[in-house]
Symmetry: C2
Subunit: 467 residues, 2 copies
């Protein structure tokens, strides 16, 4: 029935629909299933493979959503034209699922990923010890907790953010949530369906996906060397600006104080708000450290947000935001009667982890490690002639520009050398991307592999022959 062999493993860890999806997708990528070739009917495939109809339906829906197959009314499913170079075709606005490829990302492929972080210094012993103490000594934590989060954690966050980021707030303005996405969802609900969002372009795709999924209006605003343009923002009609001023994602720009002031003035000019996503401000290597926009805000228009997922470990589902006093009643009306989205145990462990200085010590150690790694990587990349680095003052990623090849060619050669990277154009919606520019993350790059990885990139990009 198929022109290739399907082999599924009902006892495998991967769900059957997923195996079926992956097998057909691969066949289309490989050319084993050619453009226009008809796929078996769902019923026939169920019978042939001995799987449930739901399995086949889910696999086909995924293939359809990702553009691998086309559906023709009253006829069936056909292999779509496939023009990829080993990557899945992009879904509409990046909204459709690519969870399958992502889940299978190998450690090798994560070497230069922007989302990887170094967890080898994670303080297992203190964390486990604190957790045990908390469970044994705090039976009251089993009962309902405060919707905004444990008072002890909010007080510790208020001190931490005041000290490290110049955030000025009271603990009662702090809200704890199970990751940035949870807090973003709350903000999107809080601002209501009429809000119009301004996004940095290029910008952070997770926030874009969230807004599109919730059906919100958004405006992509171009960036200059200082960040989002305040006049363009004024003209855009946006009511909420989502900004990453500390280390713009993906450009790595640190927004200067003058631009921050301009954007704050925009917010004061109406019922307007700024979401300041301070996602990786814990790591800073050069330039003047600039404290948060929230700390400059005298009119209560900035919602400050941050997370422990990048500074500690992706699996720590604990993020926080600081709400202006004027938004508190609205938040409380929406969420003030539901339980916090983070376990009170883990909240209390984190509160003690902060209050007892464990986090400060940990940040110094891991910050030192990232600084060493960044210095080594920058030094190694200097051996590549004409290569320009930007956005390297903070965080755990920067940009490289190498004018000798196109972005696509740079990506192709890096991938062929086993070092998949991401190009800047992938993050641009209305802006023409700067040519030949890639994003390098080093959170997942072991320091001992820096020189080898840099040498592989150099070799891949050096050779003149174009394939």
């Amino acid at each position: 029935m198929f022109s290739f062999t399907l082999s599924l493993d009902p006892r495998g860890r991967t769900p059957m629909y997923d195996q079926l999806y992956a097998a057909i997708a691969e066949a289309i990528r490989d050319g084993a299933l050619r453009h226009g070739e008809k796929l078996p009917s769902k019923r026939a495939l169920c019978a042939q493979l001995g799987v449930s109809r739901a399995t086949v339906e889910t696999a086909y829906e995924l293939l359809l959503a990702e553009g691998y197959v086309e559906s023709r009314p009253r006829s069936g499913y056909y292999a779509a034209e496939y023009q990829g170079q080993g990557t899945a075709p992009a879904g509409v606005l990046g909204l459709t699922s690519t969870f399958v490829p992502e889940r299978k990302e190998s450690a090798e492929a994560a070497l230069l990923s922007t989302s990887a972080v170094d967890v080898s210094l994670f303080p297992y012993a203190s964390w486990a010890k604190l957790y045990k103490e908390v469970v044994y000594n705090s039976p009251e934590l089993l009962q309902r907790g405060e919707p905004q989060g444990e008072p002890a954690l909010r007080a510790a966050l208020e001190r931490l953010l005041g000290e490290y980021r110049g955030v000025s707030c009271a603990p009662e303005q702090v809200v704890v949530g199970s990751g940035m996405e949870t807090l973003m969802d709350q903000l999107v609900t809080l601002f209501g369906p009429e809000a119009v969002y301004a996004m940095e372009d290029p910008g952070y795709p997770a926030m874009e996906r969230k807004l599109l999924a919730r059906g919100r209006a958004l405006r992509y605003l171009p960036m200059d060397g200082s960040g989002m343009d305040a006049e363009a923002l004024e003209r855009s009609g946006a009511t909420v600006a989502y900004l990453t001023p500390s280390h713009q994602f993906p450009l790595g720009i640190t927004m200067p104080a003058s631009r921050r002031s301009q954007l704050l003035r925009w917010a004061v000019g109406g019922e307007r708000w700024i979401i300041e996503d301070d996602y990786d401000s814990e790591f800073r290597y050069g330039g003047r450290p600039i404290s948060s926009m929230q700390g400059m805000d005298r009119h209560g228009r900035v919602i400050y947000t941050g997370t422990f997922s990048r500074s500690l470990a992706p699996a720590i589902r604990l993020a926080y935001m600081v709400l202006p006093a004027a938004l508190l009643p609205r938040w409380q009306a929406l969420y003030g009667r539901q339980q916090p989205t983070v376990s009170r145990y883990e909240q209390t462990v984190m509160a003690r982890f902060l209050a007892e200085g464990c986090y400060g010590r940990y940040l110094r150690r891991v910050g030192k490690r990232y600084a060493d790694r960044r210095a080594a990587l920058l030094a190694a990349l200097e051996t590549i002639p004409d290569l320009r680095v930007s956005g390297a003052d903070g965080g755990i990623h920067f940009l490289v520009t190498l004018p000798r090849h196109s972005e696509a060619e740079l990506l192709r050669r890096a991938a062929a050398a086993g070092l998949p990277l991401r190009g800047l154009s992938e993050f641009c919606r209305v802006t023409t991307p700067p040519p030949s520019t890639l994003i390098l993350g080093y959170g997942g790059l072991p320091t001992e592999r820096v020189s080898e990885v840099a040498a592989r990139l150099k070799a891949a990009w050096d050779s003149e022959a174009s394939h």
Copy 2:
């Protein structure tokens, strides 16, 4: 300036705006501030009390939202007419915040609360031991996890739900989230803004609040002795029915199989879905145990949901849902690239807690305790002449009806005896509430206090004198 004394404690644990709100609300309830009396201007109050403008603004917004004060344009704030009997005035459709009074609910007031659960049997030792083992032995858990939840946990849930609730699914249909509210938010997003929700009336206010907050259309459908009326549902134009068939909240009805079939047929008749909230099905005392609607569903129209917050402890932020295969691609498109909302550590602890039989043993112990307590409470209430009990076959609450007084009088007398209760009318939107009916929860009622509490209720309701 005020006709009563305001005393705030800047060093207290309660935020200043909250203290201010509470003091003014109390003054209005007590009559110290009379209807029509003007409140000081915000500016004057800041100066008088030496607090920030934000503090005063937040306090006034809360008072306004809860109906304690009225705002007159270009004039100021005035005390509203207060008709309460010791309780806060109900906000519009229950949406406005009452977090402040709830937070201060005393242990005594929680004795008969429907949301309290008995945590005295919580297995601290196994939980802490498992957590420690997981942290020390699973460094890989610090990295990004599967968006739907840990495979081990989903497999354990599939087995648990199959065994206890007759749920028929594959682990890849299971989604884990940080509490029911998180999963409800996901479902509301997944079904989109055009969905029309059918709610049981009387029904579960948290779901109603969620839908109203998200601006969704909802229809309140009356209940008969078997649950939601299928014909009324058909006529309502709803596309999603939210049901609590195992132990309806608040009526306590166990929906018979025939009604379940009717409602399932409704769902098959179009692009329609049933959310089955199986929130306290772990506890069952009489009548035939009926397995889940999901288990009866042959067409994949039921989303099954459940939580550990009621069976284990409110602070355990771990709930789960089983999605029909047809909804999985939609869920994955929306959430398949974001991290799960529950820490991988706590997910893994729960997976082992289930797989190693700890949960089954725990459920038997706590189920036995609830059964004893329920029997004792029912026996003690039998001494109250004319009192009728209903909805007591499962869960940890039931209804009592006592025709000799009105609902308001029953509530007033119970509250005067230090036993605040909730009346059924509070949960009715379009339905005329059955007269003289109250809800008694016993999750928070220590067994040794059952006879004393029942005696206090009897005494309160016995006396003829009406106050």
